[in-house]
Every structure is written in C-alpha cells, then in structure tokens.
C-alpha cells in the first residue's frame, strides 16, 4: 500500500438549523487504498460525503487534494477536480446505450460519434473487466453492471477520488464480488476509494482502513486488520466494551404462560428475506442489528408495508392473510413507521386529523367519525400522552419531533391494537420524551398489548424488551433472552463470531 496522501479533510464543520451535523471531523485518504466510512444513522457520514461532493457547503475546515487546498462548489465542480461519486441509486439514463452513458454530457461538438464512443467504451470496459457491451441499452444490464458503468465513466474522467455510496445494497453476492474485483483493480491503479456501507462483512473483505464517525464527531481511524469486528460495532454504537460488561441487569420477563398472539413462518417480502417470528400476548420484543441489517424490512413485512412474497401468518392460532397494511390493521396490528416525516405524519393536517386517521381508515369511507367524536378522541390522547400542542387544531408539522411521534402513537392507540410495532419511535426526540415512550410501551404490555420495539440504541431496547432478535446482513442470527440480554452479548451477536 502506498502511503502518499491523496485527500485530506481537516476540522470539517457543518451546521444545520439546530444541529451540528459535523463537528471538526478529520478524514484522510491515501493513494491506492479502500477506505471504509462507517457510522450509524445520524453519525454524519452522508453529510461528510455531501460536503466532499459539493452538494453541501461546509461551514468550517479545509479540504486538500494532493496537497493543494481546494473549494468545491457543486457536484460538477467536484467531478472536474477529480472527485467522482457513484450513488446507491444509479444516476445514469436507462434508456440510452452503455457507450452513450459513458460519454454524454462531457463531449464537445454537435455530432455524436456513435462508432467512436462505442470503440472507446469497449476498450475501457474490457480494460476494467466489466461484463457489458457498449451497444447494449443500459436498462437491460443488471444493476451491478449499471453501477460498474457509472464507475467506468468516473474512471475515464480521470477521477482520483472515487466515492462509492452504499453501492452493494441492491446487489446479490455474485454481483458484489464483481464489484469488489473492480474496486481492487482500481486500487492497484492508484485510485483512492471511499467506501460507504453498512455491511460489516464487506468492509472486512475489501477495505484497508476504517474511519468511524458518531454523532457528527470523529471516533477514529483504524487499520482494518487491527480492528476486530466487535470493537468496530462498539465504536459505532458508542460504548467501550469494558464498560458494557457491567451493565445488563434486565429483569426477567418470561411469557411462557400467555398465548402466542402472532406467528409467522417463512415470511418474506420484496425487501425482506424469509424469516420465522412469533410474539406472545403482552410481550415486548425487539429487532436489533445495524442499519440495513433488515430489521425494519422484517417488521414492514409483518405489517404488509412492502409486497409480501411468501410465508404464512397465524394470529391467535388462526391462519390469516396479510399482504397490505389494511389487512394488518383489521387483524389488530399497528405500525409506527421508521421515517416519521415520510411515512408517518401529514404535516399540513391538524393534530386531531392526524390522530383519527388510522381509525377512520379502518372504519371505512362510509362510516365517518363525527367532528365531536374526533375532538373528544384528540383531547383525550393529547392529555393521556401529554402532547405539547397549542391546540388540537394546530398543524402537526409545527410540533416538535417528540410530540409528532406521540401524535402518531395516539393514532395507533386509538385503533386499540393487539400488537403494536414501533420502528425507531425514539429517534431524533429529546430524552424526556424518550423515557415517556419507553414507559408507555411497558404500560401497554402490562395491559396485554404485544409490542415489537426497534431502536438503534441498544440500551433502550435492553430496558424495554424481554427478548431480542438479532439480525445481520438481512438474516436473523440470534435470539437473546434472560441472562443473555446484555449489551456485550448483543454486540457479539451483531458483530458475529467471537470478540
């Protein structure tokens, strides 16, 4: 490995209204290395990438390429300065040929020299070992090949720094290997590659160095071979291992006596691999794993939020069919979605309207909830959940994150579910509200409601759940309960193998 520094970012700062997204982060990329950028949600890695590619302007710090300070004004500007990015979603045109995608937008002259492009494209494709023909329509190639074509374009534009942002998330194993071969090839040619991913095994397979970010701050830069997987997880989640061993005094909450409420076998959806799962009445369990491990996808499959592709589901012992959210709702399942802004609130509608939404859907179009009824419901839940709002008619968008979350909780509680799925209910909300929500979960369980609780904060899950299902790379890799329910064990299971 050459040690020559290619890119240096020093004390990068980026501020958004109310948040310091990057706080004095340093990042160094050397020539001919694959450098993994790791961090959980909100750690700041995508902000850092966006600063580097000119999507965001930094508020402080400096960037230098090969020793010269540069400022990056736009993605176009970044490309011209040798920094190319290949995004998770392919930013090429599927209706054009491979050759055209490689040359369009950067060639002079009025005429398109198809033959010339095709010849040059074929040369580059052969040189990089990409299994595509220049005359193919890009949309007919597999996603992996499309991604590689994007990389080929970047390489032909003489990029020195290549950023791969979650390139493997929609590829299968074989395609991932093809991509890795290409990455190693480019590395040998002296390109510096920044590899952003949440697949731990891939990081260890291909990267030379790892930089970990957490809460907008640099945790550290490590040589991949010197950092065991379990330590990497600990650094990402934010607890040193030694401290962790002392924690973990969860009370035993076994539910062997109560009946099984929900049972799925071999359930799969377009986004989730087949899995088995069951939950008893009044039980609180959790799905844990790093971002992208498939934890959200699994619960979405339970709720029918993604297209269910297989498996069977029993509720209270009776087989039911749940293929879309309304089926799940009719069977007494509620689901608080991970992305509050996109899948949860309707910002322009009032608190009252947001609260009655799910109940209204279940009642159907022809049984409207009267205004006075709706007002009574809204007032009741504003009081019960202590929602801080000017009035029940205030648009939800103007409430704080925690209170928005409570409104959505109220929406589901109003349907009196038997089984409530909460996906990241505590993300981005203040500590006080977090505790309130955790207490509420436990109270619901006492009343006989089953709850599945997902959170990136392991500690929070340990406090509320009596059983944890651990996922890694889209598969369930373990189930922890009783004495195993402690942070060390969770991290070991997430990381896989021995610590």
């Amino acid at each position: 490995m050459q040690e020559e520094v290619l890119l240096q970012m020093r004390h990068i700062e980026k501020r958004f209204p109310g948040v310091l997204a990057l706080n004095g982060v340093d990042f160094t990329l050397r020539k001919g290395e694959i450098h993994a950028l790791m961090g959980e949600n909100g750690a700041g890695k995508s902000t850092l990438i966006k600063v580097l590619t000119g999507v965001y302007q930094m508020d402080g710090g400096e960037i230098s390429v090969e020793g010269t300070n540069i400022s990056i004004r736009s993605p176009q500007d970044a490309q011209n300065k040798g920094i190319s990015t290949v995004y998770q979603e392919i930013t090429l045109c599927p209706n054009l040929t491979v050759a055209e995608n490689m040359f369009i937008g950067r060639e002079g002259g009025a005429w398109v020299k198809h033959k010339d492009y095709e010849k040059r494209a074929d040369e580059i494709l052969t040189h990089l070992g990409i299994p595509a023909r220049s005359t193919q329509q890009l949309g007919n190639c597999s996603l992996a090949v499309q991604q590689m074509v994007a990389i080929a374009r970047a390489v032909d534009m003489n990029c020195k720094v290549l950023i791969l942002d979650e390139p493997t998330s929609s590829l299968d194993d074989k395609e991932v290997n093809m991509l890795f071969d290409l990455m190693r090839d480019l590395k040998a040619k002296g390109v510096g590659i920044i590899f952003v991913t949440h697949f731990l095994e891939q990081v260890y397979e291909v990267s030379d160095r790892i930089t970990v970010l957490r809460n907008g701050e640099l945790v550290g830069e490590y040589l991949t071979e010197e950092l065991p997987q379990v330590e990497l997880v600990a650094k990402m989640i934010g607890k040193e291992l030694d401290e962790l061993s002392n924690l973990g005094d969860t009370e035993e909450k076994e539910h062997k006596d109560s009946e099984v409420l929900y049972e799925a076998s071999n359930l799969s959806s377009t986004d989730a691999m087949p899995f088995d799962f069951s939950i008893r009445k009044g039980e609180v369990n959790g799905f844990t794993g790093l971002l992208g491990s498939g934890r959200s996808e699994s619960v979405r499959a339970i709720f029918g939020a993604d297209k269910v592709t297989g498996g069977s589901v029993k509720i209270k012992g009776k087989p039911v069919k749940i293929t879309k959210p309304i089926d799940a709702m009719k069977n007494g399942i509620g689901y608080l979605a991970e992305d509050r802004k996109r899948d949860g609130i309707i910002a322009e509608l009032s608190v009252r309207e947001n609260i009655i939404l799910a109940l209204q859907v279940m009642n159907g179009l022809f049984k409207p909830i009267s205004r006075s009824e709706a007002e009574a419901f809204a007032d009741e839940y504003i009081k019960v959940l202590n929602i801080k709002t000017a009035s029940r008619e205030t648009p939800v968008g103007s409430l704080s994150g925690g209170n928005q979350q409570k409104v959505i909780l109220a929406r589901w509680l109003l349907t009196h579910p038997d089984y409530l799925i909460l996906d990241e209910p505590t993300r981005g909300i203040d500590v006080g509200t977090k505790l309130e929500i955790q207490k509420l979960v436990l109270k619901l369980a006492e009343e006989g409601v089953s709850v599945t609780f997902i959170s990136s904060e392991v500690e929070e899950m340990l406090r509320t759940c009596s059983r944890l299902i651990v996922m890694r790379d889209r598969h369930i890799v373990g189930e922890l309960k009783g004495a195993d329910l402690n942070q060390t064990q969770v991290m070991k299971t997430i990381a896989g193998g021995e610590a």
């Binding site: 930013t91 045109c93 005429w111 007919n140």
Partner: protein
C-alpha cells in the same frame, strides 16, 4: 464463435422495439385492407392521399415526439397551426409576398415556442398548463383575426397550392383509358423532409441524445453534465417551429383560413406519437415511428369509412380503441422486458 454471434445480434433498444411493432402492425393492417376492402387501397394514390391530407399532422407530430421524448407535452400545436393559417391567408390576401408569408408562419411558431419554452424551462411551470394557456391564446387570436372563413385568393399562392408532383409509374388507368398519375402535394415533400431531418437530429446530434437523456432520467441527465434547462427550452422551440411549418403546409392543402382549422390536431398528434412508440413518460420514441403512427391512425380511419361506417363518431371510437390497444401493448411488452432482465 457463439460469443461473436451474440455480439452481432444486440437486443433492440426500447425505442427500436416499439417502433418495429408499429411498422409491422401498419403493414399488416394495410395488407388486410387491400385484401378485404380492395378498391382504393389497391392504388398507390391511396397512400398519397393519406400523406396529402395529413402532411401537417405529420409535422406537428414530429414536434410533439421531440417534446415527449424529453418528458414534456405541448398541446398548443393545433391552435398554433390554425393561427398561422389564418394570419398567412389574411396577409397574402392583403397583397403580401410569398417569401414573407413563409417567414411569418415560422416566426409565429417560433414565438410560441420561445415563450412557452421559457415559462416551462426557466420558470419551471407545468408544461401542460403553459401549453393549455398557449392553446387558448392562439385559438382566441385566430378568432379575433377573422370569425368568418377566409379563402386565399393570392395569385402566386394559388400556383404553389395547385403545384403537384406527378408520378406516372405509380398511377393507374381510369375507365376511359387515360392514365391518372399519382399526385403528391408540395406539403408532403416538406413533411418528409421534416421527418428525415428530425430523425437525424434525434439520432446523431448531441442535442437529440440530450433530449433522450433528459426524458430518461432528468436527475441523472443533470448529474451527467447536461444543461437540462436549455435542452428543455430547445425542445419547445423546435415544437413551436414545427407548428409554424405545419400551419403553412395546412394552408397549402386547404387554401383557406378558418377559426376551427386543425381543431383537435394536438390530440391526433399525441395519438400518432404514442402509436408510433413514444412513451408519455419520456426517453423512448422516434420520429420514424411517429410517421408510421400517423399512417396507422389514418389507415384505420379509412378502413372504418370504407367499411360503410360513415358517421364521424365511428372514427373517434376506433381512434380511441387503437390508442388503448397500443398503450396496453407497449406496457405489456416493456414490463415483460424488465421482468426478463430481473431473472
């Protein structure tokens, strides 16, 4: 050796595939008409009549195809055609000059393209709304110019209007023994020239490929370094320009201006483009397809009339049916394709 064979037979692009379907259907339909209906369909003049009657429709359809490939829509084209016809007729009747009248036609079309293109591309207003406004505006202007139909009585123009290209070889012998040559109007030459030029533009010019890129994925086009705003602006300018030319060709065919000229032409143009394999979602399409799309649409209308269904609504009903059929066919073909890719 097998590898080599595979290399030579590249699967068709979506554009080529949809266009081929249209051409095949057109040919089959025409052959069926020749066999079962005979009569006019057996003479070459039938094709020439179809071209003579639809030269201006072919021209605006080309413009619309460009806009639709870029992911937009332009519904002002029929009204602009009508406005051009009325303006030019009035100008010629007041002692105008032929050459200036051509400039007038092109100028009006360009003006609409410029204004609409600017509003859509740089002020980012919905193309449907902008061109709807343009349509009403042009229709209104036409009526202001003259409520009554105006016949062009300019001498030089009359010569131009009556000029026909006669092809003896494709003619037929009438009952009295005289040879009736196949006749083609000047407008058809203009229309064919437009089709060829736009075909070259779309296939071999950078601008043309940028239209496809923009329609395929606007965000990607931007990331690939294409000036999307300017490209979109130019697509509407071309559409406006072609509407102007279409107006002049329309006048050459009818020789008169009328406020109801070219009524519904924009819808026929959209139908022609779609039947020819242009997708409303953008990025796929071709003017050669559009040309055959127009012919297909016209042929089916002729078949309906020849079958004795003379009432005008039958034509509308079959047009609607055709459009549904083609859209269904396209979506089935394309979804089969993407499924095959996934496996």
């Amino acid at each position: 050796m097998k590898m080599n064979n595979a290399k030579n037979r590249e699967p068709l692009t979506d554009t080529q595939l949809l266009m081929s379907i249209t051409i095949v259907i057109f040919v089959v339909m025409y052959l069926i008409a020749m066999i079962f209906l005979g009569g006019g369909f057996l003479h070459a003049q039938q094709i020439f009549d179809m071209l003579n009657d639809n030269a201006s429709l072919i021209i605006v359809s080309c413009g619309l195809t460009i806009v639709m490939i870029g992911g937009g829509i332009d519904i002002s084209v029929g009204a602009v055609t009508s406005l051009v016809v009325m303006s030019c007729v009035l100008y010629l009747n007041n002692g105008g000059n032929i050459l200036v009248s051509i400039f007038l036609a092109v100028g009006i079309g360009l003006a609409f393209g410029l204004v609409q293109g600017f509003l859509i591309s740089y002020l980012e207003i919905q193309p449907f709304i902008v061109t709807l406004a343009g349509m009403f505006f042009a229709r209104g202007m036409t009526t202001i110019l003259s409520v009554n139909p105006q016949k062009a009585d300019h001498e030089g123009f009359a010569k131009l209007r009556d000029a026909k290209i006669e092809i003896n070889a494709l003619g037929y012998t009438a009952k009295n023994g005289n040879l009736v040559p196949a006749r083609m109007e000047l407008g058809v030459v203009v229309a064919l020239a437009c089709v060829v030029l736009i075909f070259i533009l779309l296939k071999y010019l950078r601008l043309g490929r940028n239209f496809y890129a923009m329609g395929g994925n606007q965000q990607s086009a931007l990331m690939l370094g294409i000036n999307v705003k300017r490209t979109r602006f130019l697509s509407y300018i071309l559409s406006g320009l072609l509407s102007g030319i279409s107006g002049y060709v329309f006048m050459l065919h009818t020789g008169a201006g009328n406020a109801t000229n070219a009524a519904g032409m924009e819808m026929n143009a959209i139908a022609s483009s779609i039947i020819g394999g242009t997708l409303l979602t953008g990025g796929v399409g071709n003017v050669a397809g559009t040309f055959f799309g127009t012919l297909t649409l016209t042929t089916i209308k002729k078949i309906v009339v020849s079958s004795g269904l003379n009432d005008p609504w039958w034509q509308s009903i079959t047009t609607g049916g055709m459009l549904c059929f083609f859209i269904l066919l396209q979506s089935v073909v394309l979804s089969k394709r993407s499924k095959k890719k996934k496996q």
